[in-house]
Structure formats: structure tokens, C-alpha cells
Symmetry: C2
Subunit: 217 residues, 2 copies
Amino acid sequence: MKIAILGTGTVGDTIGSKLIELGHSVMMGSRTKDNVKAKAFVEKHGSNARAGTFSDAAAFGEIIFNCTSGGASLEALKMAGEQNLNGKIIVDIANPLDFSKGMPPSLSVVNTNSLGEEIQKTFPLAKVVKALNTMWCGIMVNPAMVNNGDHNTFVCGNHEEAKAEVKRILTSFGWKNENILDLGDLKSARGTEMFLPLWLQIYSAKKTGTFNIKIVE
Amino acid sequence: MKIAILGTGTVGDTIGSKLIELGHSVMMGSRTKDNVKAKAFVEKHGSNARAGTFSDAAAFGEIIFNCTSGGASLEALKMAGEQNLNGKIIVDIANPLDFSKGMPPSLSVVNTNSLGEEIQKTFPLAKVVKALNTMWCGIMVNPAMVNNGDHNTFVCGNHEEAKAEVKRILTSFGWKNENILDLGDLKSARGTEMFLPLWLQIYSAKKTGTFNIKIVE
């Protein structure tokens, strides 16, 4: 499949690299055509990797992964261009963390709204699926690295077939079907984004990001 | 120990009943002296149980459990009387859920503040410990009912000796020491309170409240 990764940070590199390993063609998009990290990504992966602007990447991809930082996501997606997003799945991995008021970070969109919902409202013809935003990126693409892969990830969104497609991708990353919990429509992105402050506190208490939560009954 | 339970709902009844089972003397406090649920609590438990106003209960208790609903907690604690709270541990189990704007509930205090911090600011000579607010009350006092008791609970607060005392109480409820995670000062109450929207979504997806989260590495 042709996939766009918006964002050249660790999350984008991690997701993009995994998708290439799985045989997909990936274009990493950034603000400019000549982003150093995007070029390094292409050099590392060869012919299945490409680099371009947000707009180039979104036009290329059949599915778009939003791996930009939450505070910059809406602007990056606007630069990607609504016409390049319409009808496509946007897998939104970003969290609207706001470090401007010091630590702990607060959320710039919260409580009665979420970044996922904001993206959906801004691009009503795209199909936003919130996913993977509740853990460190290494675990997103390699769930087996903690507790033999037995822990949970969430999906939510307003389009059932889009969620089903994202679940297939998660399964290809190594997630067991029974550990992918569908929380319903995109309003549930509020909950998964609002988990971040607790995630950061657990990270701080345990001094490691290599953990996830498992729902036990 | 003499313990005050503020609030006559399911949470107060559950915590109060467990404390009596463990040999403590408990006074359940409510807005009025003749609350029907508080009277039933006394009838159920006999001589180790008492009922009174918020003020009666707070004066009686060496430790205060805030089991009121979050939106009413500050008012209830004000009725309890600052002089009855000063120097004492307040175990704050409440969540500031606001159902007034429909489902899903939002939080009335959130993001850059928390109910736990508000209580501490309002009663600066009390020792607020946020605890147990991330699960259904049945599990709070009987962790063994899910996953053989192997899952997590959090404490946070600005007073180390108060947190140590609350940890001892949690241990007496059946919590394993290694599963009680100290998240640091009371700012961390933001994270545990902001977990509630995700909790409610998991509850809705799984159609049961008999679950908790376990941190896996």
C-alpha cells in the first residue's frame, strides 16, 4: 500500500520504518522538500521510501499517518491540502501536549473536545481514526517488547470500515486482535488523549517509557 | 482507628464497610443528621458504625475519606469544617465528573488543576492524598476480585507520611505493595482524575466495571 507519514520525528520514523519492513511504500512528509531527517529516512530504506512536502506525501498516500506533534498537527494537515486528504483514512497518533506552561504539560484541546475530533471537523471528508497515542512509539510497532505482547491499544473513529482497516494494520504490527479495543466514535479520542498526563506521571515514577497498560478483569 | 466517611453513596458504603470489617470505628457523615442511607449503614454494622453530619464525622475521624461526588466535595468539606480537618489526612477518592453537559461526562476541574489540588488549597493544613479514584469501588476494597489482585492503584500527595499511612490502609484492603504506585506530589491528581473519561469508555466498550489496569513492562 502507498502510505504517507506526516512528521519526521521519532514517531514518524518508527511507524514509517515498520511500514516499509512490512512491504509498503512510504513517503515521509514535512514542511519543506529538503528536510534532513526525511532524507536520512530515504537513505536508510532505499527505493520503498520517499520524501516530500506534507502535500506531496498526502497526495501519494492512500492512508495518512499523522505523526506530527499535536500542537502542529492541524497546520501540517492544512499544508497537506484538503483535496489530498478527502476520502482517505487519517490515522491520528498525535497528542495535543502543551509544554508552554511548564511541567507537567497540559493539553491544548481537552475535556469537551479532542485533537482527533478537531481534525475530523476540519477535514469532514477524511476518515479520522485515533490510534496508538497511548504509548511510547517503540511499543506501537513492536507490542511483543512488553509482557509478550499482551496489553491493550485503542481505536476510535466515526467510520467503521476505516477502523477495520486500521485494525488490520495494527495486527500486521503484531497486535493481537483481542487486545485492540474499539472505544466507539471519535468522541472517545478525548479519553485516550486525556490519558497522557497519567502516562507521563507513570513514566516519571517508573523512569522508563517501555510500559503499557493491560486491562484486567 | 477512628475514621470519617464523607458521603453516603455506594463508594462511602463500600469503603466504610471494609474499614469496619478491618476493626476500625467509622462515622458516616452527610448533609443532615438523619440521612436514610447512613442510618442503614449503622443498622448493618452495629456498634462500630455511627452516623452524623459532615461536621460530626470529620470531628470524630482521625482520617477522613472523601467519598462524596466530585461536584459536591468542596461544599461537603466546607460543611465538615476546616477546624475538623486541620492536621488530618483526607483520602480523596472523588472525581470531578460533570454530567450536566450530557454524555460522555466532562470534568469540572481539569488539565491545569484537579479536585485533589483544589481541596488541598482550600484546606492548607489538611494532608490530602489522592487515591483509589481510578476504578469501581468494589475493586478498591477487594483487589483480588480481578486478575488475582495483580493490577495497579496510585497515590499522590504533598505529605510523605500521609501517603505512607494511606499505603498501609491500601495494604490492609489487600493491595500488594508493589502494585501501589506513588506518582509524586498532588499535581499528579490531574492525571488520575483525567483517566476517568478513558475509564468510562472502557466500561462502555466492555459493558462491565469489574476491570482495572495493570502496568506491564
